[in-house]
Subunit: 378 residues, 2 copies
């Protein structure tokens, strides 16, 4: 087992992540600390279980014109599109600490070795530490087992899925006491070291569905529930290409013309209205309409323009870059067209971008991070 790492004194400044997972250096002095006490809190709850396993889904952030404030959760039926964390009470560790016991990645074995087992440099570790601290746990310690279902740096919210699953598992271990926003803020501790202080992956990874991040100060999330009849599916096509968040973020324009602002804002507003009203056609076309971010990022992903065109030609309702890429996301209603759209997008990546790619057809995940197994206290 890796060295037991204590929860950070202040998760508001907890550093994070393995180098391959990080797009900027961890910022703070706790970076190399291995044993930091969880800051005293008021509660110190008793555990409700001996062990809890939680799953958190992949997420699509930005959704075109919703850059930095909209995201949604997606999952396939087998729950392979997401990360899983088991949090177990561990009396061998100092109370108030977290350790990473194991990391596995069944579909990508090499990935497990690339991820740090230092809990202060691993998304799941930071999420677990932040949740432990938010709960005020002082009398118990937790070891976690992380199973990565998502690739790194793909634009599918891999880091958020780890943090969300960890925070959810730890919270459930102690009786699911954290209010919604605190759970998201625990996950955000991890995210902020990866991609900045952006909740557009972590919020839907925890809450499921579409989530609008209205503001950070005050912290205000607006979950956007869509009608049950909306059969929204997503074709996620990930090329074999590294598009680091930092590079994608550096490509952003600093200024936008006020007309572009109005145009993008009205499309983002239309997207929100369409989600709430259950209009798949408008969801798709609004996602496709970004005139600010996508035009600067798409050229950095070989073949992206052709992939988008192929998706629309094959009958997708819309297509854009998922998060900071390189995954392309197309929207369809019902899953019938999924394979055809996926194949055409993969072909376009191959023929125009000279990139190997794989596709997955997922549906809107309305649940978010959830407990999938528990083992009782003895």
């Amino acid at each position: 087992m890796a060295a037991a790492a204590a929860a950070a004194a202040s998760p508001a400044t907890a550093p994070c992540f393995p180098s391959t997972h990080c797009t900027r250096p961890a910022l703070i002095s706790l970076r190399f600390s291995r044993r930091v006490k969880v800051a005293a809190s008021t509660d110190n709850p008793s555990p409700a279980f001996n062990s809890v396993t939680a799953f958190a889904p992949a997420t699509v952030a930005n959704l075109g014109p919703g850059f930095d404030f909209l995201g949604c959760a997606v999952a396939d039926a087998s729950l392979s599109l997401g990360d899983t964390v088991t949090a177990t009470l561990d009396p061998s560790l100092p109370p108030g600490t977290v350790a990473i016991a194991s990391i596995t990645s069944p579909s990508r074995p090499s990935l497990a070795t690339r991820l740090s087992r230092d809990p202060l440099r691993n998304c799941a570790g930071v999420g677990a530490i932040a949740a432990l601290r938010a709960l005020g746990v002082r009398s118990h310690a937790v070891s976690i087992h992380l199973t990565k279902g998502l690739p790194l740096g793909s634009g599918l919210g891999s880091s958020a899925a780890s943090a969300a699953a960890a925070a959810k598992a730890v919270d459930a271990l102690f009786g699911s006491r954290l209010p919604r926003d605190e759970l998201v803020l625990a996950g955000l501790e991890s995210e902020k070291a990866v991609s900045g202080f952006h909740a557009d992956n972590i919020a839907p990874a925890i809450l499921g569905g579409f989530v609008l991040i209205r503001s950070y100060d005050p912290f205000h999330l607006i979950p956007l529930s869509s009608p049950p009849a909306l059969r929204l599916h997503f074709v996620l096509v990930t090329p074999d290409f590294e598009a680091p968040t930092s590079k994608m973020r550096a490509a952003l324009p600093k200024q936008v013309a006020v007309q572009q602002h109005v145009r993008n804002s009205s499309q983002a507003a239309a997207l929100v209205a369409a989600v709430l009203q259950g209009d798949a056609g408008v969801i798709g076309s609004a996602m496709s309409s970004d005139c600010i971010v996508e035009p600067t990022r798409a050229p950095l992903i070989p073949g992206m323009a052709a992939v988008k065109a192929a998706a629309l030609e094959a009958g997708a309702l819309g297509c854009t870059i998922s998060g900071a890429g390189p995954t392309a996301v197309a929207v369809i209603e019902g899953e019938e067209k999924g394979d055809e759209v996926g194949r055409r997008m993969v072909e376009a990546f191959a023929s125009v971008g000279k990139l190997k790619a794989t596709y997955t057809v997922a549906q809107l995940d309305r649940v978010g991070a959830r407990v999938i197994a528990t083992s009782n206290l003895e």
Copy 2:
């Protein structure tokens, strides 16, 4: 009666409006034409009535962060906050033409004399002409009587109300045949000469409620229906101050920082979500949150910052500039606080802006332009 003016050959280029109502000159060669045939159309419908009277409500455009793409209709119980148009078949006029028979303004008698009775230079005239043409009326002519309930240039959609009432009355006169968007486009013919090609007043003036103008090409309106339980009221405070749309528009920044864009977009998206979800608190605070347009326009309206502060202090949920101003609009839930909020805002205009002002408490008007009287064919 004023000279009968034929409907413009192409309402897509119809000029418009009395000088006091115009913020830029009418652009086209038809400006001084008095007799132009309605372009031939396919339908030439028979009239359904001898006369129809329609009312269209005041509108609040922009709503803070929804600059240029959001608006809503507001009305008081007595329907004094809007314009009324009676459209009557007039066999004394050449077929296919429109004339303005009279203009009255009971609460502001001088206003009636300031408005042109040339139908090509009057909002109601242009709206009527555009509707007549959209209907394809060739065998009948219409004279209209306009009753102005709204002041000019106040930021309450005065021109849109005239155009909406006229288009609605003419359409009803011939059996209410125009699809929703065509009716709005008829009104937009008038608007485009007043404030540019913006439908954020005319769309809610015709449709009622909140309307999102998603795009113009293709023309796509999204009405945002809010739950019936939402008891949204608006305190409209109009100072005795002229703030021409052109000057207010010239004050806009040409470029915005991408962070401002994200911030305003997320607030506009929150506003849309709150309207659909019926959250008055978020509607108010989102309306108050514009960091792009309001900061450049508010300083041009003496006392506006103090008026906003007074509204919030008196318990309003939010406050911003209505349209291009100078009216300030505050949002409250229920009308109980309306008078107190209105008085405090009027006081702030007086003490800080040195401006006399009046207030009206209105509610969200969910109906839009409506027929309020008909007289049958003989």
